[in-house]
């Protein structure tokens, strides 16, 4: 199949960028989107031109490295799919495809389609962990977890930190990402001791980099792991509750 590409090219972070157009004549419908870009890059290298930079790693939809706006949708038109798992058979022969990097104040373009998503790591650093001594795994039955809770927590933990929620959000908000990372731990018994300090710390860090949530639902639609915006409500509730929690005071009241 043939495709006509319009790709964002930008040599460096603060350099001006623009779209460049390329035609690919021999694309197999069985190729993934990234394999199609590999073909493009081979063609560019053969012509002695600079290949298109894009992030990728596992190409199995689980690492969260890849991601780009494809025809105005984060990770392209297929729902619940990362860019690497999007196949060219989803496009018509002779399709025009526009590819642009994620856009947000916190996501600086490093080069072409590759963006710096370090702000998401900062949110994790603020509280996306359990302060616990590591060692060998404890006896599993010593800490019962209800099945429903384990399932909900796993749904949140499916987040691969690709940044599609931020990219898709008309407000450039990272609420779905933060909510998933908060809920993943706050639902489980292991997360309870730090539940309210966690949500406070992670939300406060998120506020430094991202916009606000107006419940458009675009993030949920773009998420390759189909994480629900219901988790955002859970985060909002815990954040409000955290304002009224002062466990230290209770301990000191004697």
């Amino acid at each position: 199949m043939r495709v006509h590409l319009r790709v964002w090219r930008q040599p460096a972070a603060h350099a001006p960028g623009g779209f460049e157009e390329y035609d690919l004549d021999d694309v197999s419908p069985d190729m993934s989107f990234l394999e199609m870009l590999d073909i493009l890059n081979e063609q560019l290298v053969a012509e002695g031109r600079e290949p298109v930079a894009f992030d990728h790693d596992c190409r199995e939809g689980i690492c969260g490295s890849c991601g780009m706006m494809i025809n105005g949708q984060a990770h392209g038109p297929e729902r619940g799919t990362a860019t690497c798992q999007l196949h060219m058979r989803k496009f018509d022969d002779g399709a025009h495809i526009v590819i642009e990097p994620w856009r947000a104040a916190a996501f600086t373009v490093i080069k072409d389609l590759s963006v710096d998503r370090g702000a998401l790591d900062r949110i994790i650093q603020a509280g996306g962990y359990i302060t616990a001594p590591t060692g060998s795994a404890p006896e599993a039955n010593s800490l019962p977890v209800p099945k429903e809770v384990a399932d909900a927590s796993m749904d949140a933990a499916a987040c691969i930190q690709c940044g599609a929620c931020v990219a898709a959000c008309p407000n450039g908000a990272a609420h779905l990402f933060t909510a998933a990372k908060v809920a993943h731990l706050n639902l489980l018994p292991q997360g309870q001791p730090e539940r309210f300090t966690r949500v406070q710390a992670m939300v406060d860090e998120m506020e430094r980099w991202f916009g606000s949530c107006t419940m458009h639902g675009e993030c949920e639609a773009a998420c390759p792991k189909e994480i629900s915006i219901d988790f955002i409500a859970l985060m909002n509730r815990d954040y409000v509750k955290a304002q009224f929690k002062n466990r230290r005071l209770i301990a000191q009241s004697a």
Binding site: T108, A126, T131, P133, G135, G172, D204, G211, S212, Q243
Partner: protein, 270 residues
């Protein structure tokens, strides 16, 4: 294998989540590094200030003030429906609003308490909306250079800003027209029925009223749903009802309010 972690646990549990870096003491960002778009509230700020500084706090204010405004809009419409019962009924109701809770309170005091709550909610709603909008604009200074293809966002959610502005401007005109009477040459204080009739007999005013109330209904369609999310009221058992509630509220308010100018122009209210 038994784990001897008690002393280790003591040190780690004390670590907690203290703000990692106090504001203003960070190393200056390298030129290629991404800079934050907002400064956090000082760590020792009063907690309501810290809460309001967050977008979640502002959305909470939006939701709570939204509930006050929804209640007001509903009661206002129910009160107005009394025009269908006749001139005396609606004028009597309008007078009752002023004498509410007398003689426990002096005349109009109860009304002014309600008005104060309403004005507070109105300004809280507008100020938060403005600040959230500015926040969102800063969060994406460089827009997408190719057209976006929205999948989930609906017309109502994407036009909240504009429907809100339309309703806000309309409220100003509405007060000039039917509360203070400066925009209504036939205005007689206390004669709700005739004021309304004379106002809507001007087709331009009736049209503006219809447009503003359709905007209000669209605004409510998204707002009355998303307020549940902002407040964290989410339960899979009731989630479908949040949508039905918002749709029903929008339809009731829209149909009820639009009926007044339509019925005046149709000659039913005369």
């Amino acid at each position: 294998m038994a784990q001897t972690t008690s002393d280790h646990q003591l040190t780690t549990t004390q670590r907690g989540h203290a703000p990692a870096v106090p504001a203003g003491t960070e190393a200056p960002a390298a030129p290629t590094q991404v800079a934050p778009v907002r400064r956090p509230a000082p760590w020792d700020a009063w907690w309501p200030v810290r809460f309001y500084r967050s977008s979640i706090g502002k959305k909470w204010v939006m939701a709570v003030s939204g509930i006050v405004l929804l209640l007001y809009v509903l009661l206002h419409m129910i009160g107005n429906l009394k025009v269908y019962l006749g001139r005396n009924e609606v004028n009597h109701y309008a007078e009752w609003l002023r004498t509410m809770l007398t003689p426990a309170l002096p005349r109009t005091v109860a009304l002014w308490i309600l008005r104060t709550m309403l004005i507070t909610a109105f300004f809280g709603h507008i100020v938060s909306a403005y600040q959230l909008t500015r926040m969102n604009q800063r969060a994406r200074p460089v827009k997408y250079q190719s057209p976006r293809d929205y999948v989930a966002a609906n017309f109502a959610s994407r036009t909240m800003r504009w429907t809100g502005v339309i309703v806000g401007l309309f409220v100003i005109f509405h007060l000039l027209d039917l509360t203070w009477g400066t925009a209504n040459s036939h205005f007689v204080r206390g004669d709700v029925y005739d004021n309304l009739k004379h106002s809507f007999q001007r087709p331009v005013v009736a049209a503006a009223y219809i447009v503003a109330n359709i905007a209000l209904a669209i605004h409510i369609y998204h707002g009355a749903w998303s307020m549940f999310q902002s407040l964290g009221l989410n339960n899979p058992r009731f989630n479908a009802w949040r949508r039905h509630f918002a749709t029903a509220f929008a339809v009731v308010i829209g149909v009820g309010n639009v009926s007044f100018p339509v019925m005046v122009l149709a000659g039913v209210i005369h």
